[in-house]
């Protein structure tokens, strides 16, 4: 337990959380959530994926309820049983996942539940539009208030979320990675708004993985690791390196046990792959035993490329070859047969069927091979599942338990198991360590490295720069749907990758 170091203690906290705890089934998402927000304070909340930041936010927002600990507003204990209760207490929240109504206009999304009303309680549509347009203009975005939200880019959706949170005079503004999808000027304007709020005496909780932003706008910072608040200090009193060390809890090196492997024959060739409006003219190759990372900012189109290769989405032009043979477009089953495995970025929605058992999930990719005479053999199924559970050191109670009972890291291992069971010659992993704890993360990395060592070609999409730099033999960088850089392991460093990722193109190696 870290004692909060006093920083600018002029006023009493508006909002305070003490020893908050929250579990999702077996996952203890939050253990010692202790945090205070004072008027005029902009506080950063940092931590690795899955550290419990969003969980803490949801508690403050009244979306979920505390399992233990207390929450105080103006020193009074409160129990928010609904988001409305939190809102009524003056807490505005921007959630990490956009929570918009695709069928409604931007303006309505902003004012939903709080429409300005005219005579007889009738909604004053003119006022709605005026207010929202004004707000959007203040954020400096070119977005028509009357437009439906459906079809907005992730960045624009995030803007709408921000407008939503700013649309009422909040005393506390909580922002869960609001800048993840924004570009430079938009971030700047957001910061302008944050500063204005601070002048007014509001408190702001700001979550971001971009440390530069943390140092630019926040004066205090709370660090979380594995569901616990591990540090609380002024940004002026801590260096970026120190902050990262506190977040990760160990030296980075051990996290990336990359072994050098002999690179073999070409396994995958992507030829001028294009999907209208998403990515354009993407060509590259991956060879046996090689780990190729696909880096870039969120929304650059990396996941889309990975999906198109595996046949989840149908590309509009170009093609994919595996071992010299062209794959049909939009047919994951064909990609599978050609020896591709695909660990998608969204584990809960795409990687696993949460309601089905661990065993069923592991064997899902091997059903045909497990059947004899068209009938499945329970014993063979069990054997396969148990074998992979052991190989990946899966922590589970019974193979018959729904996979949703497992912790995030173990869930990810199940996804890996189900694809490793197909013995792929090419494994595509999209954000393989998103939301898993540090220990498991290292295990996953070791696993990938070993696979490469055995001659499996690996294409890894990752937003974590250290992971990219630590694991990849070669780094491909995407910006706005195009490949803007290719760097060898030796060439790749943070600056080069970032430059390519932000479109300041330097000649590809």
């Amino acid at each position: 337990m870290t004692q909060p170091t006093p920083a600018a203690r002029a006023a009493d906290p508006i909002l305070e959380l003490r020893d908050a705890a929250k579990s999702y089934g077996a996952v203890r998402a939050l253990r010692d959530g202790t945090l205070a927000l004072r008027p005029g304070e902009v506080r950063a909340l940092v931590g690795e994926n899955g550290a419990g930041k969003s969980t803490l936010v949801k508690l403050l927002a009244g979306v979920i309820r505390l399992d233990g600990g207390t929450m105080l507003v103006d020193g009074e204990p409160v129990d928010f049983h609904s988001p409305t209760a939190a809102r009524d207490a003056g807490i505005a929240v921007i959630y990490q996942e956009p929570t918009l109504f695709p069928d409604l206009s931007v303006a309505e999304n902003v004012v939903m539940g709080r429409h300005p009303r005219g005579a007889l309680g009738r909604i004053d549509r003119g006022a709605v539009r005026r207010q929202v347009q004004e707000l959007l203009d203040r954020l400096g975005v070119k977005l028509a208030a009357e437009r439906p939200v459906r079809g907005l880019s992730i960045a624009d959706q995030q803007i709408v979320e921000i407008a939503k949170a700013l649309s009422f005079d909040a005393r506390v503004l909580i922002m869960d990675e609001p800048t993840a999808a924004l570009s430079g000027p938009e971030v700047e304007r957001l910061f302008g708004v944050v500063r204005a709020l601070r002048e007014r005496g509001a408190a702001v909780l700001f979550i971001s993985h971009r440390l530069a932003e943390v140092f630019a706008i926040c004066e205090t910072v709370t660090v979380m690791r594995d569901g616990q608040v591990v540090h609380d200090t002024r940004t002026a009193d801590i260096s970026a390196d120190e902050l990262v060390r506190r977040m990760v809890g160990r030296e980075l090196g051990a996290l990336f046990p990359k072994e050098q492997a002999g690179v073999g024959a070409e396994v995958l060739r992507v030829h001028r792959l294009t999907r209208e409006g998403v990515f354009t003219d993407v060509s590259f190759a991956v060879r046996a035993g090689e780990i190729v990372a696909l880096a870039g900012l969120v929304g650059a189109g990396r996941s889309e490329v990975a999906r198109a290769i595996f046949g989840i989405d149908r590309p509009d032009a170009g093609h994919v070859e595996v071992g010299g043979v062209r794959l049909p477009r939009g047919r994951p089953s064909a990609a599978m047969r050609a020896g591709i495995g695909f660990v998608p970025e969204d584990r809960r929605q795409q990687g696993l069927v949460m309601d089905l058992s661990v065993q069923r999930n592991v064997t899902m990719t091997r059903l045909r091979e497990l059947a004899r005479g068209g009938l499945l053999r329970a014993s063979a199924e069990r054997r396969l599942a148990r074998e992979w559970a052991e190989r990946l050191q899966l922590k589970y109670h019974r193979l018959e338990d729904p996979v949703g009972f497992l912790s995030g890291g173990n869930q990810q291992k199940v996804v890996l198991a189900k694809w490793l069971a197909t013995e792929p010659s090419l494994l595509i992993v999209d954000e393989p360590t998103r939301g898993i704890d540090v220990g498991t993360k290292a295990e996953v990395h070791r696993l990938l490295s070993e696979l490469a060592g055995r001659g499996v070609a690996i294409l890894m999409v990752s937003s974590e720069l250290p992971e990219v730099l630590g694991m990849a033999d070669r780094v491909l960088v995407m910006h706005e749907g195009r490949l803007t850089g290719e760097l060898s392991r030796a060439e790749a460093d943070e600056e080069r990758v970032m430059r390519a990722a932000t479109g300041q193109v330097e000649a590809a190696a």
């Binding site: 959630y95 929570t99 909604i123 028509a144 209208e276 409006g277």
Partner: protein, 346 residues
């Protein structure tokens, strides 16, 4: 809705976007009106009597009850639910109205209306509570109450029937009379459509229904009291089915426990043909009411055109399929267009 009032940073793009969106929103109703006009026109050319005042009156009369039910159904569909019990609720309330008036012919018609709607609302409340508090899928709940309400109607009537003869003329006049040349029933339906249409368009509870259907989780986060709203939608659907039941009795004079059997699918069809999405968040009561008129007109037109009545049902089914396929294709187009504009926003 003036386009000039908006301080659009990029006027050209903004206006174009808005125009396209407006059109996409209105095009649905326009599409049905177009189809309706075409149908009437073609029929009229072949059989001019089809457009005589008398015949048009009948069209309006035929569609009135379905339009009222479709309005209620729209509210429920918008919230991502469905109410399959409307036909049974109609049967129950139709019989109740008839029974009341034939036993006590002096009862004020307003009292009958109120009681019918109250009874319908009670049925709707049961549905709503089971769906929200009981967390039972609406499809299951209303399929169940479809049976239960119908069974209760049978038990209650025990095989008896109400005849027009026993009903007061003042009451039957609602079904046949007219005001300023427009059938009274059509006027009632029109009032219902306009009132509910306004509420859906311009009042918070209405907008919140769309929010719930569009994204239930986000609606909760926005502080919308979803359960209460969904319940209300069911109650209104039930109350309108009650009103429909009362009008059914006024129109047909003869009611027994089977009144309104099978209406549920026609009503859902009308709403869907009218552009209400079966998965919520999209649609208007105007469209739904127009859908009801279109379905009614097809039936009449086929009779007038001496097409074997056997084709009627097939035509209604085909129309429904066309409508949802059309919606889907337009939706895909619109999505693509919107994404295109949004994606490369420097």
């Amino acid at each position: 809705m003036s386009t000039a009032a908006t301080p659009a940073p990029t006027p050209a793009a903004g206006v174009r976007a808005r125009r396209m969106v407006d059109l996409a929103l209105r095009v649905r109703e326009l599409g049905i009106i177009g189809a309706l006009a075409l149908l009437i026109l073609v029929t009229a050319v072949i059989e001019p009597r089809f457009v005589h005042a008398d015949s048009l009156r009948n069209l309006a009369l035929n569609a009135a009850i379905f339009a009222i039910l479709a309005v209620g159904q729209t509210l429920v569909l918008i919230t991502r639910n469905v109410d399959l019990s409307v036909g049974s609720v109609l049967g129950l309330t139709a019989y109740m109205s008839g029974e009341l008036l034939s036993k006590h012919p002096g009862t004020s018609i307003l009292v009958v209306v109120a009681l019918a709607m109250l009874m319908g609302a009670a049925c709707g409340l049961l549905n709503g509570v089971l769906v929200t508090f009981g967390r039972v899928p609406a499809l299951v709940v209303t399929l169940g109450t479809l049976y239960v309400f119908r069974g209760l109607a049978f038990l209650w009537t025990n095989g008896s029937q109400i005849n027009a003869e026993t009903l007061p003329d003042g009451f039957l006049n609602i079904g046949t009379g007219s005001f300023l040349g427009i059938p009274t029933m059509a006027l009632i339906a029109l009032v219902v459509v306009l009132v509910v249409g306004q509420v859906l368009r311009d009042y918070r509870p209405g907008r919140e229904l769309y929010a719930i259907g569009s994204n239930p989780d986000a609606a909760r986060l926005a502080g919308v009291r979803s359960d209460r709203r969904v319940c209300t939608a069911f109650v209104v659907s039930g109350a309108l089915a009650g009103l429909g039941g009362m009008l059914f009795t006024a129109r047909f004079g003869t009611v027994d426990a089977t009144a309104g059997t099978g209406y549920e699918l026609t009503v859902v069809s009308a709403a869907v043909v009218g552009g209400v999405a079966i998965f919520g968040g999209v649609g208007s009561v105007y469209g739904a009411a127009l859908g009801a008129v279109l379905l009614g007109t097809i039936t009449s037109a086929l009779i007038v055109l001496k097409v074997d009545s056997f084709w009627q049902q097939a035509a209604v089914g085909a129309l429904l399929l066309l409508a949802i396929a059309f919606d889907r294709l337009v939706g895909l187009r619109l999505d693509a267009a919107l994404r295109q504009r949004s994606s490369r926003r420097a």
